[in-house]
């Protein structure tokens, strides 16, 4: 098993390979290898998703990635909404 920590300004559900798996700022367990990581809506963060490779991690030495909260003006309009 490998370990991932997704850093974000607030507590938000983490999506690993499009499936809800744990929350931001806490250690998430996942099998080794490639994964796509993103956060649950609203899409007010950047980047929209990240590819990670998990290998040789430990709970205290987890793979760390960060998402940053966008200012309201930079948030892309939801699909179907007038911009």
């Amino acid at each position: 098993m490998e370990y991932l920590k997704v850093e974000f300004e607030e507590r938000r559900r983490v999506m690993v390979n499009n499936v809800p798996n744990g929350f931001t700022n806490s250690v998430i367990e996942a099998p080794g290898g490639a994964h796509t990581v993103t956060l649950a809506p609203p899409v007010d963060f950047s980047p929209t998703s990240q590819e990670v490779w998990l290998e040789n991690t430990a709970p205290m030495d987890a793979c760390r990635i960060s998402f940053h909260k966008l200012p309201p003006a930079a948030i892309p309009p939801a699909p179907g909404r007038p911009s």
Binding site: F23, S26, A34, P59, M60
Partner: protein, 483 residues
């Protein structure tokens, strides 16, 4: 003249009577018209309040014909009589079971409980355990109408067996009935894909890869596939259809295929399923689930080790506070005669050994593997917790170290090996794998299932912990995750 016409008519009717059944075809699994992530027989739609995950219990029922079915049934009876305090009330341990993964003979018990709930305790013994299924099947094979059907290349002994189970045990129930009764436990019946030896589970998640809808499929056919003992029974076949428009492969599998080296289990699980999604029609031929895993634990492990697994997701979310896995293993160790003969074994002996030897070997490995997974996680939890304690003492101003979520996982194995004294143990270890045991043997198996669970030290530790009773201390072996 009239006699000649009558003879011709009788001949024609007779020929038709033989030819029509000879065109017999096994029932087809339906094509999936629309993919729905929350549709069909899956774990997630089964109703349970959030707190139901706190104590997450999975059972695994091994293969072994009626011996395994009766043994699992005995353990279930005992679990039903065992009570624990939970959420301010007292509940039966059995009512807290969230999933049952089953193989071969164990699938009869699991499927019956999934379909009929507590009725199993008044019906199942007469409807299955105490019957001579083998003789009933034999008489069906002897029926002339079935000779003609068996002459068809698309109808075989397994279809006859499935028909028998459908009519007399499962009363024509389909997976619709399992979906319509949206309560846990989630029943996962396991078979083995003959083409590559991989596990195949009768869930909508697996059927998505076949582009097929499991809902209308007969539960009896799933049980038949799970218990299709090699050589004695023929494989059960399913069709694989092109995936419905708009569906795409799961992202976890797309990512898994990027490298075999990182996690071979993840890679091959993805490879074996994704190869069905190529768009060409393929045919899946299934045999006894015991060929891939004779105790049903690997399906639970897969749920624990993959990001789309029903266990790991709940552990990462913090929903599961304690994980309990009870493996009911009806493995036997009959006297071995091959080594005392100078003459090389005949075809029959070789076929039997080839069919069964891998089942026994993998049972040892799988229990060990599950325990190592649990112990490894427990060591990591304790290491990180210790680290934090040291840091708190030596450098209180330092930021906290990352902790692994504490989820005690208790693995309980119930098997004949624990029977005392030795003579009594030998009686059970020598029981045959068959679908025709005597009433006395069935009684003994039901009783020993309950006894072994009640005497199991890990299970007793677990009960003390759940009831808030003091542990007996490290000297009494109360150190593991069950306490």
């Amino acid at each position: 003249m009239k006699t000649g016409r009558r003879a011709a008519a009788v001949f024609l009717l007779g020929t038709l009577g033989l030819l029509v059944p000879a065109c017999a075809h096994y029932p087809l699994n339906a094509r999936l018209t629309e993919y729905r992530a929350d549709g069909g027989y899956r774990f997630d739609p089964l109703l349970a309040d959030e707190k139901a995950d706190e104590l997450f219990v999975c059972l695994s029922f091994s293969g072994g014909g009626t011996r395994a079915a009766a043994f699992a049934y005995g353990v279930m009876k005992s679990l039903r009589e065992t009570t624990i305090p939970l959420r301010g009330t007292t509940v039966s341990f059995l009512s807290e079971v969230d999933c049952i993964s089953s193989v071969s003979g164990g699938s009869f018990t699991a499927a019956y409980y999934g379909l009929f709930g507590d009725r199993i305790f008044t019906e199942f013994e007469d409807r299955f355990l105490r019957r001579d299924i083998e003789s009933e099947l034999f008489w069906r094979v002897l029926s002339p109408i079935n000779w003609a059907r068996l002459a068809s290349p698309y109808w075989s002994r397994i279809d006859l067996a499935a028909e028998l189970y459908d009519e007399t045990v499962f009363k024509e129930r389909t997976f619709v009935e399992l979906i319509a009764s949206p309560r846990r436990p989630f029943i996962i019946m396991n078979a083995t894909r003959l083409a590559n030896g991989s596990r195949f589970q009768f869930t909508q998640e697996e059927f998505d890869f076949l582009g097929s809808d499991l809902s209308e499929y007969k539960v009896a056919r799933a049980v038949a596939a799970s218990s299709a003992f090699p050589v004695l029974l023929s494989p059960l076949s399913l069709w694989s259809y092109p995936p419905p428009a708009g569906s795409s492969p799961p992202e976890d599998y797309v990512q898994a295929l990027k490298s075999a080296a990182a996690d071979q289990g993840r890679y091959y699980r993805a490879l074996h399923r994704m190869e069905l999604m190529t768009g060409d029609r393929k045919y899946i031929h299934l045999m006894d689930g015991g060929l891939a895993d004779n105790i049903g634990l690997r399906t639970i492990m897969a749920g624990w080790e993959s990001t789309d697994g029903f266990i790991l997701r709940r552990m990462n979310d913090g929903g599961i506070k304690r994980l309990v896995v009870i493996a009911v293993n009806a493995r036997t160790d009959p006297p071995e005669y091959l080594s005392s003969s100078e003459r090389p074994p005949g075809l029959g002996s070789v076929a039997y050994k080839v069919a069964t030897v891998s089942m026994e070997n993998y049972s040892f490995d799988t229990v060990d593997l599950m325990r190592r997974l649990e112990q490894g996680r427990d060591q990591l939890q304790r290491t990180t917790a210790d680290c934090q304690r040291h840091l708190d003492r030596s450098c209180p101003s330092a930021p906290p170290v990352d902790q692994l979520r504490r989820v005690p996982a208790c693995i309980v194995e119930v098997s004949f090996e624990a029977i005392q004294p030795e003579g009594r143990r030998g009686e059970f270890l020598g029981l045959p794998t068959s679908f025709a045991l005597s009433g006395r043997q069935v009684d003994a198996l039901i009783q020993i299932g309950g006894e072994l669970l009640a005497q199991n030290r890990d299970f007793q530790k677990l009960l003390r912990a759940l009831r808030g009773e003091p542990s007996l201390g490290a000297g009494a072996g109360e150190k593991g995750n069950c306490s």
